[in-house]
Symmetry: C2
Subunit: 141 residues, 2 copies
Amino acid sequence: MKELKVEWPSNLKRTKPRECILSVLEKADKPLSAMEICSAIEKSGESAWLSTVYRVLELFVKKGMVAKIAILNGETALYELNRFEHKHYAVCLMCHKIIPMDNCPMEKFIPNIQDSDFRVMGHNLEIYGYCKDCDPKQRSL
Amino acid sequence: MKELKVEWPSNLKRTKPRECILSVLEKADKPLSAMEICSAIEKSGESAWLSTVYRVLELFVKKGMVAKIAILNGETALYELNRFEHKHYAVCLMCHKIIPMDNCPMEKFIPNIQDSDFRVMGHNLEIYGYCKDCDPKQRSL
DNA sequence: ACGCTAATAGGAATCATATGCATCTGTAGC
DNA sequence: GCTACAGATGCATATGATTCCTATTAGCGT
């Protein structure tokens, strides 16, 4: 996955934690949890408080720079740069590996919602199953 | 939504909390959280402990009697009877109302997963947006 | 009815996330 | 470049959902 950049909104104060967090997300090749972001920052020699990471991520989501996704019944929220082309993931039920999907079933689908005036803003989709490493183990149980 | 029944597995001990929980779910017209189930039981005059409710729900999920779903980035897990025809929901971003959908985009969709040997077991889909009551409020912000 | 096993009550622990407040830091205006 | 102030962070502590622990209780096979 190519490293991609997000434009820094002009009215957004540049502070060290914010730049660290964005930089971690730019380098990430998969969605990260707040805690993973935090330890990535520590590893790079900077420091960051988890509460700050949460606050900044929430802000980034509000600014549209970052997307928040929930995986496997939402034990933990994950964050990734908003790659306007949106993405879905397949999740392994055994090892919790996250594998990107390249297409989206919603592209040409009209949901039949019982509230006919519902204004659709977006969607989450998650496929679950067994990845190629875990499938054999699973079958032999 | 019609009240529907689930068969009680023959090897499953019948205890008061379990029967209460199943009965609440049978009467429910929407997915419920563990706490909602708990208070519904209290309201019916019985008593139930949250920890028991969680344990029983987990058991029911394992037995395939109940489905666990996550809504809006998984703040809270919701549970409903497993209606083998599976279902998806639209969720209002403002009032968190849950509106059933009658069709499913995955029926004739082949996900293009980067792990080509991934064995798909199922999926979660959630549409989010604004329901007819909240859409006007949203637009006037 | 008896006894064994599994289930529950009750509470305390845990995990992710949010919040409150004092202190610090970007940055707009000079 | 300096200053002031709004807004951000460091840090501790709260919160809400869920899980875990253990003594007690209750199904159910015999």
